[in-house]
């Protein structure tokens, strides 16, 4: 019977195998035979019959030894009994102590029977450790001894327990070793030799189903178990950083697992390992597979995705990073999903569905109140902590399980998910990541040129967190992308200003302002730039170094914008503000210099000088030191301190030398002063200009020096004369020809020389040569000055020569391939024939593409468009000027067309800005008078009568605007006053038009006659007027109409409609007069009018009709 004992032990534990078949969760897979289910152990003691001497014969023989052996036998028996009794009493630790003592005493025995018992005790002790005491590490260690000795009847089960034991106690290297052993053993298992009569054994062994199950449990691993083994092997390798080794096991799992979650987890681990191995090619193969799985809902996978995606993104593997970012489930969605899952799991485990809540009365009815419940029959598979486990047919749980929830025992997989959920919900452990993920995706889209997806994602990020750093960063990136890469300036500006309207603090409003500043600066849109100012003023003041630096730069650029927009006083204020408030900032020295420059623009030379002096004192190492000294000299020049100025320029020339960027400027300035002094100083001036020319660093410096020298050569014909001019100009053309030399001016000078020498044909030859050489080049604007000069000069040629020249130009026009050349020649020929206006109209209709049209062509088109009030191309033409011909004098007509177009559209502010721009560029030259008239019209439209009146009156004060602009202004003033009910003043203005300017503008004069009559009519009807005055008005009215009809400047066919009106207005009694006039009789009517105007022509104007 003794031989049967181990087998009965075996039988008692057989039921375990099924519970373990799929590596069931250890805590829940509590041994059926633990705690009172120990078969024979339960109801008997061990006695001498069980441990007779023969059993321990292996300890050796001999008297003293025999005595020792007997003692050992007794001790081992007692230890075993202690263990069994403790087990019966539910004292698992006591049982383990007793069994361990037994194992220790018998460890040296080599007797088969002892070994068999020892192995069985080991196995049982390990199970108690594993299941009852939850000391899986100790259990695994004991099982390692178990599998190393013979008579290990449950080796496969032992291996499975060991694997779990080492894995869960994070002993991964041991886990790897055991799994490799297990796989090896599975292929080459021991042949179990049972002791005793086989028939007897068979009879006893499998006397119940449990025993049979236990036997079956040690069958070879199933395919599912193989997959599980590889999964744990891969995991263990991964944990000990053996990334290459973990690939093969994971690949096995991916190929064999029927569990999508497990498969997804294995792919995820593969990718992480490949990332460590920097095997990016293989990663890109696995990512799409992962993308199609549902593994993202596992909390740990979800979080790992972020790390891996970030790493792939960082190395530029965007096509792999993108799907991983997409897989990341937002926190709320993940929590909701896991809570739903958990709820189902808890219900399946007969737990209340919600964590941490006591059962309601209804739930108690469903779940049985706070009674302990049976384990559920159906088990779920979850991935928790990287460990895939399963449970089947678990035994009943016991009281001493350490996880409880309102009296319920909670299965470990549920607890694991609950713990992970707690972590997920705790923002201090896992900060919000959704917006970060979206931002990363936006950046990624941007990096792969998927710009519009990027914009959309930036928008989403900003919308989700408009005040946070991530949201504001997204807004900044969106504005940058739109303005810099996509050319969507309008969209970018709208977003930026909207953002700035809402956010006043922190660094990002500064960044966005900086972007806008950069954008406007790049396009020279200075007036737009300074619209940013109100937003900057509203920023919260901050003293952080970074923000102050940005503020100083932003305000600096505002001041530059003001300077460039001719708002010099504002520029001075802002530059000085930067100097005072941002002391020590990078921009302070520059601001001081530019404050001085702005003063120069205001002709405030004294303050300008102070600024430059302060700069040289405070910043002796400043980057603009030479410029500051030079501009100080310019200020002195402006203050008429010419000697000091000469000394200053000499200092600059000597101190900073030819390498300085202001050397040529200083030479030119000093040359100008010497030149103004005349006499012997002219030679000094020529020397200075020559030096300036020779060391010029910019075309402008060379150009100025050359033509200034030419002026002296022309004046001082005794010493210099034309040969000097020719020599210098030709040198200039050759040296600077490819660097933007002003060919036109050069050719003009050469032409003038020839003209002085009365060699007109040679002068024309120069011009013609220049036209033929450079006429096809759009940017050679000098040609556009030569053409009218040449046409003018051609009047000095004989008719035959003139015709020949025209024919030559026509021939070139015919043969040339260059559209620009053709257009220029058409302008030249129109000038010859005086048909510019017609050409303008033709080009307005025929020229769709303006990109190759030079400024004179654009000018003709603008003038034609103005005539027919066609403003459709005004914007495009002006933009073309701004982009290509920024400094062209022809821009005036484009500005006029644009301004009048904007006015016609009712965009008064924009129209006004254009008016200002025209006056900024051209001052008060004759051609820009339109701007002042439009100024008045705009103000009138905006109902600002006083401003409008001033604007029109200002026209009268500018000598260059005499003539038609003045008469128009006077007429407008008449209209203005009439509209305000100031009928006398209005009458006077109208009267002034037809008296004083009838020869200037016949039509306007005719209109003024009628308007004056209208005023007289209104005055006559006013109730305050007495009868006498009324009679006078009536008389004046009649006289005015008669005078109009008799006025030979006014009564012309073009004004027939107006004359007809006048005739109608005259009473029937005047029919004789009309008849008289119609018969050709001339009148000598004297009209006397008392005018109340304050102008010099106003008081008592008397005029007499021409005979």
């Amino acid at each position: 019977m003794l031989t049967k004992r181990p087998i009965r032990f075996l039988i008692a534990g057989a039921g375990f195998f099924l519970a373990f078949a799929l590596f069931g969760l250890p805590l829940e897979c509590r041994a059926q035979f633990g705690g009172g289910d120990f078969g024979d152990f339960e109801d008997r003691d061990f006695d001498d019959r069980d441990f007779d001497d023969g059993d321990f014969g292996g300890f050796g023989g001999g008297g003293r030894n025999q005595s020792r052996e007997r003692q050992d036998t007794r001790d081992s028996r007692e230890a075993l009994n202690r263990g069994v009794q403790a087990l019966q009493a539910g004292d698992f630790q006591g049982a383990v102590d007793g069994f361990n003592e037994y194992l220790d005493i018998t460890k040296r025995s080599t007797l088969d029977t002892v070994i068999q018992v020892r192995q069985d005790i080991r196995y049982r002790t390990a199970r108690i450790l594993f299941y009852d005491l939850n000391d899986k590490g100790a259990a695994a260690d004991l099982l390692r001894e178990y599998v190393a000795e013979p008579y290990a009847l449950h080796k496969r089960v032992a291996y499975k327990m060991m694997i779990i034991g080492y894995y869960e106690t994070a002993q991964y290297q041991k886990c790897v070793d055991v799994i490799l052993e297990a796989i090896e053993y599975n292929e080459n298992p021991d042949i179990i030799v049972r002791v005793g009569n086989s028939a007897e054994a068979q009879e006893g062994e499998f006397e119940d189903d449990e025993a049979a199950d236990e036997e079956k449990a040690d069958l070879p691993f199933t395919p599912e178990e193989h997959t599980e083994l590889r999964f744990k092997l891969g995991q263990s390798y991964f944990e000990i950083n053996k990334y290459r080794e973990c690939l093969s096991p994971f690949e096995y799992v991916i190929n064999t697992s029927k569990d999508d979650l497990q498969k997804g987890f294995a792919i995820m681990r593969m990718i992480e390992a490949l990332l460590e191995l920097k095997d990016f090619e293989r990663i890109s193969g696995w990512v799409p597979v992962l993308y199609r799985s549902d593994v993202r809902y596992d909390i740990r996978v979800n979080l790992a995705l972020l790390t891996v995606a970030d790493e792939l993104n960082a190395i530029g593997d965007y096509d792999s990073a993108l799907p991983l970012y997409r897989m990341i489930v937002p926190r709320d969605e993940l929590i909701q999903y896991q809570e739903e899952t958990l709820k189902k799991m808890r219900i399946a485990a007969n737990l209340p569905p919600l964590l941490g809540q006591p059962l309601t009365e209804d739930e108690k009815l469903i779940f049985g109140g706070d009674e302990k419940v049976e384990e559920p029959k159906e088990r779920r598979r979850v991935i928790s902590g990287g460990s895939i486990t399963s449970r089947e047919e678990e035994p009943a749980v016991e009281d001493n399980v350490d996880v409880e929830d309102y009296g319920f025992v909670v299965p470990i997989e549920i607890r694991t998910i609950e713990e992970l959920l707690e972590i997920l919900k705790d923002e201090s452990q896992i900060p919000p990541y959704e917006n970060y993920v979206n931002l990363e995706m936006a950046i990624l889209y941007n990096n792969v040129n998927r710009y519009w997806e990027a914009v959309r994602f930036y928008d989403a990020v900003y919308k989700a967190d408009p005040s946070g750093e991530v949201g504001q960063r997204a807004m900044y990136d969106a504005v940058e992308l739109l303005s810099k890469k996509l050319g969507e300036g309008e969209d970018a500006r709208a977003r930026a200003f909207d953002f700035l309207g809402q956010h006043k603090s922190g660094i990002f409003p500064r960044y966005v302002s900086y972007l806008l500043t950069d954008y406007y600066q790049g396009r020279d849109e200075w007036r737009e730039l300074i619209k940013l100012r109100p937003y900057l003023d509203e920023f919260d003041k901050s003293f952080t170094e970074d923000i102050r630096r940005y503020d100083s730069e932003l305000f600096f650029m505002q001041a530059v914008g003001e300077l460039m927009s001719s708002q010099y006083s504002n520029a001075v204020n802002d530059f000085e503000m930067i100097v005072e408030e941002y002391v020590g900032s990078e921009k302070a020295p520059d601001a001081l210099y530019w404050a001085g420059f702005s003063y120069l623009c205001l002709d405030d030379h004294t303050n300008a000088y102070k600024c430059f002096e302060r700069y040289t004192d405070e910043y002796p190492g400043g980057s603009m030191l030479s410029q500051a000294y030079h501009q100080g000299g310019v200020a002195l020049f402006g203050m008429d301190e010419l000697t000091n100025a000469v000394n200053r320029f000499s200092y600059v020339i000597d101190q900073f030398g030819p390498e300085s960027i202001v050397y040529s400027d200083a030479c030119n300035m000093r040359g100008d002063i010497y030149g103004s002094w005349g006499g012997d100083d002219l030679d000094k001036a020529v020397t200075d200009y020559t030096n300036a020319y020779q060391h010029a660093q910019r075309e402008a410096q060379a150009t100025y020096a050359v033509f200034a020298a030419c002026e002296i050569f022309k004046k001082d014909t005794i010493y210099y004369g034309n040969s000097y001019i020719v020599s210098l100009v030709e040198d200039y053309v050759n040296s600077w020809g490819s660097r933007g030399a002003d060919f036109a001016k050069a050719t003009l000078w050469l032409g003038r020389v020839k003209m002085e020498e009365q060699k007109y044909d040679e002068a024309i030859a120069y011009y013609k040569d220049a036209i033929l050489k450079y006429g096809g080049l759009l940017l050679q604007e000098g040609i556009d000055q030569i053409i009218p000069e040449m046409v003018k000069l051609s009047n000095r040629l004989s008719e035959a020569e003139r015709v020949a020249l025209k024919e030559e130009l026509q021939q070139v026009l015919k043969e040339s391939d260059s559209s620009t050349m053709k257009l220029r020649l058409r302008v030249a020929l129109a000038l010859f024939d005086g048909t510019e206006s017609q050409l303008g109209m033709d080009l307005l209709n025929e020229l769709d593409d303006l990109s190759f049209a030079p400024p004179p062509v654009l000018d003709l088109i603008c003038k034609a468009a103005l005539e027919v009030k066609n403003y459709s191309r005004a914007k495009d033409i002006l933009e073309l000027y701004e982009k290509t011909f920024n400094e062209s004098p022809y821009i005036n007509s484009a500005l006029q067309l644009r301004a009048e177009g904007l006015f016609a559209e009712g965009k008064f502010d924009e129209a006004f800005q254009t008016v200002l721009e025209a006056q900024y560029l051209f001052g008060t030259i004759k051609d820009v008078a339109w701007s002042q008239l439009l100024w008045g019209e705009i103000r009138l439209a905006q109902r600002d009568v006083a401003e409008a009146r001033n604007a029109f009156l200002d026209v009268l004060g500018v000598p260059d605007w005499r003539g038609k602009p003045t008469v128009t202004a006077v007429f407008k003033l008449g209209e203005l006053e009439e509209s305000q009910g100031n009928l006398r003043a209005a009458y006077n203005y109208y009267q002034r038009v037809y008296f004083q300017y009838k020869g200037v503008d016949n039509r306007l004069s005719a209109q003024s006659y009628l308007a004056a009559v209208r005023c007289l009519d209104k005055l006559a009807k006013q109730t305050s007027v007495n009868f006498g005055d009324s009679q006078a008005y009536e008389g004046g009215r009649k006289q005015t109409l008669q005078q109009m009809i008799a006025d030979k400047y006014v009564n012309i066919p073009e004004n027939a409609d107006l004359i007809a009106q006048a005739r109608e207005l005259l009473s029937v009694s005047d029919a004789d007069f009309i008849q008289l006039i119609d018969s050709g009789v001339k009148t000598n009517i004297v009209v006397t009018i008392t005018a109340s105007m304050e102008s010099e022509e106003g008081a008592k104007i008397q005029t007499k009709d021409d005979e």
Partner: protein
């Protein structure tokens, strides 16, 4: 319910009868109460499925909404079909299915309003017909799937096909009308993008797809073709040459190819990517030629000044 039970009774009656020749498509039919029967499907008629029991030539019918599942019994090589589809070999796909179904493919479409084991294959087939230009079949397929009340995705795939066909014929209003029937939000965004693209609203189309990517990035029923649509929108934008949208188109196609490896879009994306790379090279060539012409012009100017200098030297 009574009707269903009677169907089953009738089935069991006729199953025993051995008929020599039987028309229709052989299938295993599962009805809502879980009962199954081997039947020969005849047609769909007024919301009813007409079938014959095994070894019976008598037509029986039952309401479609009481039928849970049809398992067609013809053999198709699913793996091969997926491979053909994902490599954009649409003609091969059609031919293979036709062979597997003994040239009776057309007869199957009407049954796609009921859940069945060929649904995935037939969705691919529908796309294949569209891609090879067999629009009549594609329309029949679309109409069949659009009736499926049990499976929103399949039904929307059918509706999507009908919308795409309408767009192809410039019937934008018709497409917009059909869009209202679409159920799944991701499908709606994708089809909105299709309509916007047709209208020439390329940026708006990309935005709609971006919304889909932001809200339903893991809905792989619609994401691959939506991203491919974006690639095409970028290509169309590239015609303006305002910004380097050609690179955007190529990048997007590349990403579709790499991210949605096993989808038919991957094959199409690959073809487009290769085509656009060639087009880009041509564009660059033209650009270079233009730059060279400019260079030549500048050279002329320089030459002009050099000649003037030489002339001056010779005069001296």
């Amino acid at each position: 319910m009574r009707r269903v039970v009677s169907i089953v009774l009738l089935l069991s009656t006729f199953v025993a009868w051995a008929g020599a020749q039987q028309s229709g498509l052989p299938a295993k039919m599962t009805i809502m109460n879980g009962n199954t029967a081997d039947v020969f499907l005849q047609r769909v008629e007024g919301g009813n499925l007409v079938f014959q029991a095994n070894r019976s030539t008598r037509d029986l019918s039952g309401p479609i909404d009481k039928i849970y599942y049809l398992q067609f019994l013809s053999k198709l090589d699913g793996e091969l079909l997926v491979n053909l589809y994902s490599s954009a070999d649409y003609a091969g796909m059609i031919q293979n299915i036709d062979q597997g179904l003994n040239s009776k493919t057309d007869e199957y479409w009407q049954f796609m309003s009921i859940n069945n084991n060929y649904k995935k294959v037939f969705l691919m087939l529908m796309e294949s017909y569209f891609e090879v230009g067999n629009y009549e079949q594609a329309a029949a397929a679309g109409a069949g799937f659009a009736q499926n009340e049990e499976d929103d995705v399949a039904a929307d795939k059918g509706r999507a096909m009908l919308i795409r066909l309408a767009l192809m014929q410039d019937q934008i209003e018709e497409a917009e009308k059909r869009l209202e029937e679409v159920v799944t939000p991701s499908a709606k965004l994708y089809l909105t993008a299709c309509i916007q693209q047709k209208k020439g609203e390329y940026k708006e189309s990309i935005w709609s797809v971006s919304d889909l990517l932001e809200q339903y990035a893991n809905d792989l029923d619609w994401v691959p073709q939506a991203e491919l649509l974006n690639a095409v929108s970028y290509r169309l934008l590239a015609d303006d040459e305002v910004v380097p949208y050609m690179d955007s188109a190529i990048s997007t196609a590349r990403q579709v190819k790499n991210i949605h490896v096993d989808s038919s879009c991957a094959g199409e994306a690959k073809q487009l990517q290769e085509q656009w790379i060639l087009e880009k090279a041509e564009m660059l060539e033209k650009e270079q030629a233009r730059a060279a012409a400019m260079e030549k012009e500048l050279e002329k100017v320089k030459k002009g000044t050099d000649e003037a200098a030489e002339e001056k030297d010779s005069q001296e």
